[in-house]
């Protein structure tokens, strides 16, 4: 019961075309004593005013199942004088490869490259800061930065000495440190 008999749409449209101060009089006439209809139109009008950013932006882009969460493996490709041999780690914005430096000396190195699609200005800035911070450090327990550059498409990368070891979480598990959760 009390369902509005006339559709609210045309009245809503009509009210929106009027300046706010003339809407009440318009609604009086258009709803002609139908209180339910009037409430309905008023609710819609106030939703129109109060909805803010509702539906203004498209929903987040889909992520599909069955696809690797990690980026496409670029093993086998070559970036300047480095041949990527095998993906050995993935971080928030970068991927680390075991790589072979081809010149001026041949040696195995670790090459960290910004993930495809993550190469926004902000992430690139963070990536460069990391590169800079590492380059400034000189400690036997911190991998040295050997080289840095950018791919043809502008993705920055840097090359570090290759350090073999176990992930810190596994180290903690295996050595029974107090907090093996990795601090998460």
């Amino acid at each position: 019961m009390n369902q509005p008999r006339k559709p609210a749409g045309p009245i809503f449209d009509g009210a929106l075309e009027l300046p706010r101060e003339r809407r009440a009089a318009f609604l009086d006439e258009a709803c002609a004593g139908d209180a339910a209809l009037r409430r309905r139109v008023e609710a819609l009008l106030s939703a129109h005013e109060g909805a803010g950013a509702f539906m203004e932006k498209m929903p987040p882009a889909p992520v599909l199942p069955g696809l690797p969460a990690t980026p496409a493996d670029q093993s086998g490709e070559q970036i300047e004088r480095y041949k990527l041999l095998q993906q050995i780690g993935v971080g928030g914005c970068g991927v680390v490869y075991l790589a072979e430096q081809l010149e001026p000396v041949r040696r195995r190195v670790a090459l960290k490259i910004i993930k495809l699609g993550m190469d926004t200005k902000e992430v690139i800035a963070r990536f460069s800061a990391e590169r800079q911070a590492l380059a400034l450090m000189d400690h036997p327990h911190i991998a040295k930065v050997l080289d840095a550059g950018a791919t043809d498409t502008g993705r920055p990368y840097f090359v570090m000495e290759l350090v073999r070891g176990v992930p810190i979480t596994r180290y903690c598990d295996e050595n029974h440190t107090a907090d093996s959760s990795g601090g998460g």
Partner: protein
């Protein structure tokens, strides 16, 4: 004549089973295109529904230029397919964030914003069928704008209405959905 073209012409002639057959075809193509792009680009935020739908159009109908006029059935199917893809993705993301995968939780502004976008998407999805029952054309417009990202001009052309009508419909649909979601939430 491609299968999709045939289906579209059957739908035009009032064959309702053709419409039901069109949706999975378009869905499949969108999924295929999306996963192909994901594999190549590896970043979810670079997936553009509008571009995907246009590409699906070209692949399925073999035409380089997308003319919107009279394409209502293709776009209706594409919008519905995109809706499913987006909803599946949002549900999965939500499940992950709520404990499905404890290893990956990044809490920062971006994630929080995305979380609320997912909530909005799911809420709109829940009440959209009700709007469709009241006014199918408005619901269709909502899907074209919100799930596919068509402009008012493009959506108006697909639906065969004026741009002004499309804008009016959008205002009404948005207010309608907002009221509905709020009353659902307070129930």
């Amino acid at each position: 004549m491609s299968e999709v073209t045939q289906l579209i012409s059957s739908v035009n002639q009032g064959d309702s089973t053709a419409a039901a057959e069109l949706l999975p075809l378009v869905y499949q193509e969108l999924r295929r295109l999306a996963s192909h792009k994901m594999a190549a680009q590896a970043a979810s935020h670079t997936l553009q529904p509008t571009a995907l739908v246009h590409e699906a159009w070209i692949r399925l109908l073999g035409k380089k230029e997308v003319q919107f006029t009279g394409r209502v059935h293709f776009f209706a199917a594409a919008a519905e397919a995109m809706r499913h893809i987006l909803i599946d993705s949002a549900r999965r993301k939500r499940a992950i964030r709520h404990g499905g995968d404890l290893a990956r939780v990044d809490i920062d502004e971006i994630q929080i914003a995305v979380e609320s976008d997912h909530a909005e998407l799911l809420a709109v999805h829940e009440v959209l069928d009700k709007l469709a029952a009241e006014d199918p054309q408005m619901a269709e417009l909502t899907k074209l704008r919100y799930f596919v990202g068509l402009t008012f001009e493009e959506a108006a052309e697909v639906l065969g209405i004026s741009v002004a009508t499309a804008k009016r419909h959008w205002d009404y649909a948005r207010a309608w959905l907002y009221v509905e979601i709020r009353s659902d939430a307070s129930r």
